[in-house]
């Protein structure tokens, strides 16, 4: 069930109405019931059973690990934690990444001339598997480390585990951060309703008006790389970055908006990423909750492990203090970035284009940063000047775009490389002035709507980079406030691409 489908909207409205008439202390049960309805509507019983087993294992493990449960030794708790974490990771890998592990097996069988072939496996996975599995792992580890209590009420656990907006595209929540507002049963007020609906509306604008239009252009060019070489490819590369941003952040806006209606505070997942001055800063502002998850539950445990500490000590002895710090850090970063790519899918287009490519760049930044700063000082570049900051932002955007061009090459990494071959094969910037871009599935009217919408997005992001746009809106008088909101509603209704031609599965991060 897509978050923009009629089914989802009806579920939302019914849930909100029943939620509001329930007594406050029981309102969480309405949300739990909505979770159950959502899960049963979107998948068959077998997949629901898989999800139920994961929730049960996680619930039981957390109760056994809770600091209030003193009946177990440290070693027993370690075994329980390891088993529950491994189980959740194994289920996720089995359903989502099995082909990655089968690939070398296929190669070996082919090289050995056995004649045995293993088909490509495509299993339907439980809804939100990649999201909730990581959320469960974080929850188990937090309870094990003593920074979170275990939820002992199975109904409340179910609400946390399968909170239905999150099952669509995240973000990654933490029990310790969200449990208070999740179970509070806050009333739906004028404030929560208007703030929530504003956020949903903004998400709809990004998704329906901008992302879906860009999707037409990107889809046309990516479907025929030989037919659209040179500047077309570069146009597709840049358009895909904007498509992904408006699509994913738009979906997150809707999820956060829905949660705000119920008084539930979700973590932000984007923070004006295109204002970043470096790739490492970019990834602190893009898909932030995934980055935080990997830092806290992969990178830090790796760097604190005995093996990595030994690596640091040996590097310090041989190469000095700087390498003593950097050797384990770089090794940890490469593993973490591999996993970021791997989480997106078992294909090397993801592992490279959304993973180790950025890991390498961040490591190069760490290694060369001080030297580049000295060069800048010698050249007399004022690093705080507006020109230099703009240059750094454009540079970061282009570096990110280059990586994402592989991410979008769903046919694989090699096809992504070929695409760059087509991009560099022809010099044809004339397509931007000779009318060729009007033959990419969008007419002049659509392109004008797109450009104006991107300008609006840019201005709002620019304001939002400095202060809350919604707080600014709230300070205006009722005429301006509602005038702007109604204008946005009409823009979404009139210019939004939906209806029979709209592909309801087009939330890109819904498939991960």
């Amino acid at each position: 069930m897509n978050i923009l489908s009629l089914q989802f909207i009806v579920l939302m409205c019914v849930t909100a109405a029943v939620y509001q008439i329930f007594p406050q202390r029981l309102r969480w049960t309405v949300l739990t019931a909505a979770d159950v309805v959502y899960v049963l509507l979107v998948q068959d019983l077998m997949l629901t059973a898989v999800m139920a087993v994961q929730i049960t294992v996680t619930f039981a493990a957390a109760c056994l690990l809770d600091s209030q449960n003193s009946g177990r030794t440290a070693l027993q708790k370690k075994h329980i934690m390891a088993a529950a974490v491994s189980f959740n990771a194994a289920v996720m890998i089995l359903f989502k990444e099995i082909n990655f592990f089968l690939y070398p097996v296929r190669l070996i069988l082919r090289a050995a001339g056995t004649g045995v072939s293993i088909p490509f496996i495509h299993w339907n996975a439980p809804a939100g598997l990649s999201y909730y599995s990581l959320i469960f792992i974080a929850y188990i580890l937090d309870v094990y480390w003593g920074v979170s209590q275990a939820e002992r009420n199975p109904g409340k656990m179910l609400l946390f585990a399968a909170f239905f907006p999150i099952l669509t595209s995240g973000p990654f929540i933490r029990y310790r951060d969200i449990s208070e507002s999740l179970y509070a049963g806050n009333s739906i007020t004028y404030h929560s309703m208007t703030y929530g609906l504003q956020r949903i509306l903004w998400g709809l604008f990004k998704s329906l008006v901008i992302s879906n239009r860009l999707g037409v252009l990107v889809g046309t060019i990516y479907a025929d790389p030989a037919g659209y070489p040179g500047a077309y490819e570069f146009l597709a590369f840049v358009s895909f970055v904007l498509q992904l941003y408006t699509n994913f952040s738009g979906c997150i806006d809707i999820i956060i908006g829905i949660s705000q209606i119920f008084g539930i505070e979700m973590p932000e997942n984007f923070d004006s990423p295109f204002y970043s001055l470096s790739i490492s800063e970019f990834w602190r502002r893009w898909h932030m909750t995934l980055g935080l998850w990997l830092k806290d539950y992969v990178l830090y445990p790796l760097l604190k492990s005995k093996r990595f500490r030994e690596l640091g000590k040996n590097a310090k002895k041989k190469y000095g203090k700087r390498w003593g710090k950097q050797a384990p850090l770089f090794a940890g970063l490469m593993i973490t970035w591999f996993l970021i790519g791997f989480w997106h899918g078992g294909g090397w287009n993801y592992i490279w284009g959304c993973g180790i490519y950025y890991g390498i760049l961040i490591i190069l930044g760490e290694m060369c940063g001080p030297a580049l700063q000295r060069v800048n000082e010698r050249l007399g570049i004022n690093s705080s000047s507006r020109g230099w900051i703009t240059f750094q932002r454009i540079r970061t955007f282009l570096i990110f775009t280059a990586g994402l061009s592989f991410f979008r090459s769903y046919d694989g990494l090699i096809c992504g490389l070929k695409r760059w071959g087509y991009a560099l094969s022809v010099w044809n910037p004339g397509i931007f002035i000779n009318g060729s871009i009007f033959k990419l599935g969008m007419d002049k009217y659509d392109i004008a709507v797109l450009i104006v919408s991107l300008l609006i997005l840019w201005i709002i992001d620019m304001i939002g980079h400095k202060r809350s746009v919604r707080d600014m809106l709230a300070e205006q008088n009722i005429v301006i406030r509602w005038g702007l909101l109604l204008a946005l509603i009409f823009v979404v209704i009139i210019f939004g691409q939906y209806g029979s031609t709209y592909n309801a599965s087009s939330f890109i991060y819904g498939k991960f």
Partner: protein, 80 residues
């Protein structure tokens, strides 16, 4: 160990990790107050503190310390 002695030791660790002899930390110091104290340097700092005091933090503690004061509380708790 008194709190004052602890902060003197902490100052030495911070100065070594961040290569800055001017650093002086207090109860309220956070990552915003020290140049270069980002998420990557944070874990180096934690490990240097562990080595200095012969203690070990779990990752939950590492990620939930709000400021140097909270860090000092944890250290004093562990070396008791």
């Amino acid at each position: 160990m008194t709190r004052k002695e602890l902060f003197e030791k902490l100052n030495a660790v911070f100065r070594d990790v961040f290569d800055d002899e001017e650093i002086t930390v207090n109860e309220e110091t956070t990552s915003k107050d020290i140049d270069g104290w980002d998420s990557l340097e944070h874990i180096n700092l934690i490990m240097a503190i562990e080595d200095e005091f012969g203690i070990s933090f779990n990752i939950g503690e590492v990620t939930t310390m709000k400021n140097v004061g909270a860090m000092a509380d944890k250290i004093l708790d562990k070396i008791k």
